[in-house]
């Protein structure tokens, strides 16, 4: 295994922005199965196309406000591919890539952004919680899920996904602290995309990295190049291994960038320089870099790339169709899952809503 300890705090990079492997990167690469190498690429492309399509759907008024994640594909795909079915994912609202890789059907993700609560529910066996909108609140919960796994002696980790802004919330602190004290198998995966809406990370934190905050909790802290899918995967794999081995929690900071606006309701030009966006888009793109590597390594050709893109587009289109065709539940669905059994006042309210039509939703 790669000795990540050495690389802590400096930011791990295995694939350079120009697509070349670092020395350690080469080691990792040699030992990596080919289908995994392909999977990185395939998922990243799929995620990006899904994301772009979603932005368009929002513009067309076919879904509601949407949180784009373009630019963060490596961080999401790389980390999610290191997880097993037994692991828990507590995502924020920007983790469509993670959710997809973990087995969340694309149409459900779309349903969520259509304002449909059914989009929150993962299929059986997919341990993805719904998006957590109130910042940082998922972090203590992931910690608790990890704690339960530890108590039940189940080899599984729980991962909390969150942004750089989330590290300012008390919930982040409390969760990290519990994780340290109880040595819990939890991974705190922070995508530092440099902004919390308009607020730059420098106004979020006086220390330059998220990773170094780990030292306040005696948990492992690692900073990785979040646009390097190989590095992210490797860091996550190690964190998962440590968690399952009883070595406790890891805080991973994946340094990345969201290319687009915070959400489709946001205007990022108000607070970001064009040049900055350009730099991240043109020089540090996670997919371009990896594509170059694959081509150089002979695992991808322009033709196969085009074909894959085509296939992804079809997958996404099918999902859009499915989501749009999903029959809307009746208004009484409001009452469907509030309690296991409805109290009398709620029965009355449901009747009021349905005008007496008591069919269950």
């Amino acid at each position: 295994m790669v000795d990540l300890k050495q690389m802590e705090r400096v930011g791990i990079q295995l694939v350079r922005p120009d697509g070349h492997l670092t020395e350690t990167g080469r080691d990792v690469w040699e030992r990596m199965p080919e289908d995994r190498k392909r999977a990185f690429y395939q998922w990243m492309v799929q995620v990006r196309l899904f994301d772009r399509r979603s932005v368009t759907l929002q513009r067309q008024g076919r879904i509601g406000t949407y949180a784009p994640m373009e630019g963060q594909e490596a961080a999401q795909v790389g980390s999610a591919l290191a997880l097993g079915k037994e692991d828990w994912i507590f995502p924020s609202y920007r983790e469509h890539g993670v959710a997809m890789v973990a087995g969340m059907p694309l149409d459900r993700i779309l349903l969520y952004w259509m304002g449909r609560v059914e989009g929150n529910r993962a299929p059986e066996g997919v341990r993805v919680l719904p998006p957590y909108v109130p910042i940082a609140t998922q972090i203590p919960q992931a910690m608790g899920a990890a704690w339960a796994a530890k108590m039940k002696r189940e080899p599984s980790v729980a991962v909390a996904y969150f942004g750089d802004g989330a590290t300012s919330e008390g919930d982040f602190h409390e969760a990290c602290n519990f994780a340290g004290v109880f040595r819990l198998p939890v991974v705190f995966f922070c995508q530092n995309n440099h902004y919390a809406i308009s607020v730059p990370f420098s106004r979020q934190s006086a220390v330059p990295t998220v990773a170094e905050r780990a030292s306040a909790y005696a948990i492992r802290g690692i900073q990785v190049d979040g646009n390097d899918v190989l590095a992210v995967y490797t860091a996550m794999e190690e964190a998962v291994r440590r968690g399952k081995n009883g070595e406790g929690a890891t805080l991973i900071e994946a340094v990345t960038y969201r290319r687009g606006a915070h959400t489709t309701a946001d205007d990022a030009t108000r607070y970001r320089e064009d040049s900055e966006v350009r730099e991240w888009t043109e020089e540090k793109d996670p997919i371009a870099r990896y594509e170059r590597l694959l081509m150089e390594e002979g695992l991808l050709t322009p033709d196969r790339a085009r074909k894959w893109e085509q296939r992804c587009r079809e997958t996404v289109e099918a999902a859009v169709k499915e989501a749009e065709a999903a029959p809307a539940p009746p208004p009484s669905h409001l009452f469907a899952h509030v309690y296991k059994d409805l109290p009398p006042e709620l029965v009355r309210q449901r009747r009021q809503l349905t005008g007496g039509d008591e069919t269950h939703a």
């Binding site: 972090i139 203590p140 608790g144 339960a148 108590m151 008390g170 006042e345």
Partner: protein
């Protein structure tokens, strides 16, 4: 049947829960080695060990957030918050997540957990230890809220709460933790959530109370009985869901209602009860529903707490008022 205090009965309830269901865990500040600052968890740490009765760091959002995560992953947590005045750091986790997870996940993760919270005043506790903000939780759809006022109910409600599929806020009236003893069966039993307790039957006026206000209302009812006024006294036990049938039925019988609670009046639970009665028993009402409550001031330090809290005199006055309206 053994006689116990409320605190002992709660302890029994927790002990039974731990014994009956290996997925039950207890967590909170000082609940372990120390047995809880009120000794509610006394002896449990010795019996069930550090992994099931857990002293946590001092962080309420952490405690409740962790409990939700545990519930998601198959445990049944009983979280303790040391006093109601200290639940607010965990408020977001309760309101935003515990209450909504069942809906948000369409039944997949119902956040079945219990949050135990000692509440209310009357024990000369230090400043800010005597809050009684039950109505905040009653307003949040997805939660259930219960309060025992007898040792019997304390154990039975606790066992029911732990098994309840929904998140339950279990309030413990500190003032009567040790005020009296009552019979508590040495076996498993449940007091179902959502059911009030008819404490006393009467014809002239309905008295509604919960927690530490129940013995006070009982005393008032006894005094009033001597004056020839008979009270129908209801111990709500379940603040959400409300036992509408018992409440409305009683008011239809008596035509008058007095509600007694420790919390400040404005937007307290008394308001909801009044509105409920107004909605369902309007034509039966002979007088306005009257609230005997804490005043609309911050819960005072203890030198003035007796002036803040409902007392016999204020209850009697209110009953007089509705009778002679």
């Amino acid at each position: 049947m053994p006689e116990m205090t409320l605190v002992q009965a709660i302890n029994e309830g927790i002990r039974f829960s731990l014994e009956l269901d290996p997925s039950v865990v207890v967590l909170g500040e000082d609940v372990g080695k120390n047995g809880g600052v009120f000794r509610t968890t006394e002896g449990l740490w010795d019996t069930f060990g550090d992994e099931r009765v857990i002293d946590t760091p001092l962080a309420e959002a952490g405690i409740i957030g962790a409990s939700i995560g545990m519930a998601v992953n198959g445990l049944r947590p009983i979280a303790e918050i040391q006093f109601m005045g200290f639940i607010y750091p965990g408020f977001e986790q309760i309101v935003t997540h515990a209450a909504r997870l069942r809906t948000r996940t369409q039944g997949q993760y119902p956040a079945s957990l219990v949050v135990r919270v000692p509440y209310g005043g009357g024990i000369r506790a230090p400043e800010l230890h005597s809050d009684s903000t039950e109505s905040l939780f009653v307003h949040i759809p997805g939660l259930k809220v219960v309060v025992p006022s007898t040792p019997y109910d304390a154990k039975g409600l606790l066992l029911a709460a732990v098994r309840d599929p929904d998140p339950v806020i279990y309030l413990e009236p500190m003032k009567i933790y040790r005020a009296f003893r009552g019979e508590v069966p040495d076996r498993e039993y449940e007091v179902p959530l959502g059911c009030a307790r008819q404490v006393r039957e009467g014809e002239d006026v309905t008295l509604i109370a919960w927690g530490a206000m129940v013995p006070l209302a009982e005393q008032a009812a006894r005094i009033l009985a001597k004056k020839g006024i008979s009270c129908d006294l209801i111990d709500l036990r379940s603040l959400y869901p409300l036992d509408e049938k018992t409440i409305i039925g009683s008011v239809k019988k008596t035509g008058r209602a007095v509600i007694v609670h420790e919390a400040p009046k404005t937007a307290g639970l008394g308001a909801e009860l009044t509105a409920l009665i107004d909605e369902h028993a309007f034509l039966w009402l002979e007088a306005p529903v009257t609230r005997v409550t804490g005043f609309d001031v911050p819960v005072p330090m203890f030198a003035l707490e007796d002036d803040f809290r409902p007392n016999l005199c204020r209850i009697e006055e209110a009953v007089d008022q509705v009778i002679n309206f």
